[in-house]
């Protein structure tokens, strides 16, 4: 169980960070979502892994209720933040005509690169060089 959860968090974080480092808004947003899933899981198990135990003190075993409250807050906040980021990224794409996340100087080139890549998310490293 420990290995399963630990490797799940590790995988999510790795994928999230890899996607965060992309130069376009959509992968960055996906990466942030994966990172927030990872941190939510991490927060959830910070009260230790306990199976089949209620989060109240009664008779017998109980699980720590506080991480559950914390993770609920974190989920709500990250959901709201992702929604804001999606809307802002959409606004940036619609006003600028391309969806590069860096403050790209050559606008025409960015739009062209964006049009070429649209449809298949292949590696655009060659076009990243201005």
């Amino acid at each position: 169980m420990e290995i399963l959860i630990a490797s799940a968090i590790g995988t999510l974080t790795t994928c999230g960070i890899y996607l965060m480092l992309r130069a376009r808004t959509f992968p960055v947003i996906l990466g942030l979502s994966l990172l927030s899933y990872a941190v939510n899981l991490f927060l959830f198990i910070s009260g230790r892994i306990k199976l089949n135990a209620p989060p109240i003190i009664g008779s017998g075993a109980y699980t720590d209720p506080l991480p559950q409250a914390l993770v609920l807050t974190a989920i709500v906040i990250s959901f709201g933040m992702t929604a804001v980021l999606v809307i802002m990224a959409l606004g940036a794409y619609l006003t600028a005509g391309h969806d590069r996340i860096d403050l790209y100087a050559d606008k025409e080139k960015a739009i062209k690169a964006s049009a070429r890549i649209r449809g298949h998310e292949s590696d655009s490293r060659a076009e990243d060089q201005p």
Binding site: S46, S78, M81, V84, T95
Partner: protein, 475 residues
């Protein structure tokens, strides 16, 4: 337990909600509510700054189980700084008509103040995260106020950077909770010295993660990349308000560095100070070089703001009462100086006349740390606190020189060489108020530093802060 403590958070929240519900189409009503609300916040901040260290427990749940708000000298100082700066910027916004460029400026502004006040008052690390998010989400809205391509694209970058910071914050909090079982800051201060020896590694990781988060907020090199683009593209008054946002990072670093991870804690000892010191030196260098290298005024001010954060955090990294007092004075000074410069940059967009040039010179002198304004007093206090540190002296003095050259060149380009469009003159009342605040800081430097020394000593002896939480049980 005074209920006054919760008002700086509740009042702007209720007013902002009221504006959205009942006044979303009446700009004058919004302005009236916003100004009255900010005036009330200023009054509250003044009355709270007289109050002794105390705590407020929401729903009367005792700490560490419930949510505690704790007021001490540092919180009161930051509340007062925020409220007075907010009022000045609000005057500028209304006089220049920035708030009419888009909807909901005043609601977002009040939510921003709620987040700032909450971050300064909370005594609980998780609620610090929550209030960080409140102030960030309001700042996202303010940042793209008035729209425009460059602004929205810079905004996306700003949001992405800060979301990553929030994720790191949660990782740090989870590690702290799993090792200590508490997130109340006073409780942490009591429990961390007694943690098991094999948990110290985890605590060190959490301390560094937390420092990274606060460094993102404080724009410490190498995490400063979001700041120039954001500040240069934000609307003028919003950039001026953001001058206090970097100070939230500095506040959190001072709070955690003195209360939760003090230098005599066996698990971390001088870990934070050791990391802060070189980063702050690099920040000073990048800030000064950026001030010299940039061509547009808003970007230049953004780099000067980065440089001032470097000086501030270099002072903080000493973690002695004298240095902390100097850092607090420099915090207040650099906030008003950066805000004044951003407001001047806003006025300069349309018209550059003689009075603006004079105000620019005064603000630039303050920012660079030349006499007679408070920048000089601030740098003097900083240098006095770091008396034995030759590297810090060299860095701060060289940076002052470079900043001064950068501002002088920018000023001559801006006011002498480029033609000024004959736009109608804009109100400069808010800039004058900022400079008045700087002058008052200079004239009253004696009593203010006495007060700040008391505050700093209390920060380094946090017994009163911890006692205010009544951790043994309700009183």
């Amino acid at each position: 337990m005074s209920p006054l403590l919760i008002l700086p958070i509740i009042l702007p929240a209720v007013l902002a909600g009221g504006i959205i519900l009942f006044a979303s189409n009446a700009l004058n009503l919004q302005r009236a509510i916003s100004v009255l609300g900010t005036l009330a916040l200023l009054g509250l901040a003044i009355s709270l700054s007289q109050a002794p260290t105390q705590a407020y427990f929401l729903g009367n749940w005792p700490a560490p189980f419930g949510i505690a708000l704790v007021l001490d000298g540092l919180s009161a100082l930051m509340l007062l700084l925020t409220a007075s700066l907010a009022l000045i910027i609000l005057i500028h916004t209304i006089r220049t008509g920035w708030d009419a460029c888009g909807r909901h400026f005043h609601a977002l502004y009040l939510f921003q103040l709620m987040g700032l006040n909450g971050a300064f008052l909370t005594g609980d690390a998780f609620n610090l995260f929550v209030f960080f998010e409140v102030l960030l989400i309001a700042s996202y809205g303010l940042m793209v106020h008035g729209s425009g391509e460059a602004r929205i694209r810079a905004g996306v970058q700003y949001v992405a950077f800060n979301l990553l910071g929030s994720t790191l914050f949660l990782f740090a909090l989870a590690v702290i909770y799993s090792t200590t079982g508490t997130l109340n800051m006073a409780d942490l201060a009591q429990k961390l010295p007694q943690i098991a020896a094999n948990d110290t590694g985890l605590i060190r990781v959490a301390a560094v993660l937390l420092m990274l988060v606060f460094a993102v907020k404080a724009a410490l090199v190498p995490l400063q990349f979001w700041l120039p683009g954001t500040y240069a593209n934000a609307p003028g008054p919003v950039a001026a308000l953001f001058a206090v946002m970097t100070k939230v990072g500095a506040y959190a670093l001072i709070r955690f560095g003195t209360l939760v991870f003090p230098t005599d804690l066996p698990a971390t000892t001088t870990l934070l100070a050791g990391l802060l010191y070189p980063a702050a030196l690099a920040t000073i260098a990048i800030g000064a070089l950026g001030t010299l290298a940039t061509r547009t005024l808003p970007r230049q001010i953004a780099f000067a703001a980065i440089g001032s954060m470097g000086t501030l955090l270099l002072t903080v990294s000493a973690f002695t009462p004298q240095a902390t007092a100097a850092a607090l004075y420099y915090t207040v000074h650099s906030t008003f100086a950066a805000a004044a410069l951003f407001l001047i940059a806003d006025v300069c967009r349309t018209r550059r006349d003689g009075l603006t040039a004079a105000l620019y010179m005064a603000a630039a002198i303050a920012m660079a740390g030349m006499p007679p304004l408070s920048g000089f007093v601030g740098k003097l206090l900083v240098l006095d606190a770091l008396r034995d540190d030759a590297i810090a002296w060299t860095a701060i003095l060289l940076a002052s020189l470079l900043t001064m050259i950068g501002f002088a060149r920018q000023g001559s380009d801006l006011f002498w060489k480029s033609p000024s469009a004959e736009a109608p003159a804009q109100s400069k009342a808010a800039i004058l108020l900022c400079l008045t605040a700087l002058a008052a800081l200079t004239i009253a430097a004696g009593p203010i530093t006495d007060q700040l020394t008391l505050t700093a000593e209390a920060l380094h002896q946090p017994a009163a802060y911890i006692a205010a939480n009544h951790l043994g049980g309700p009183k």
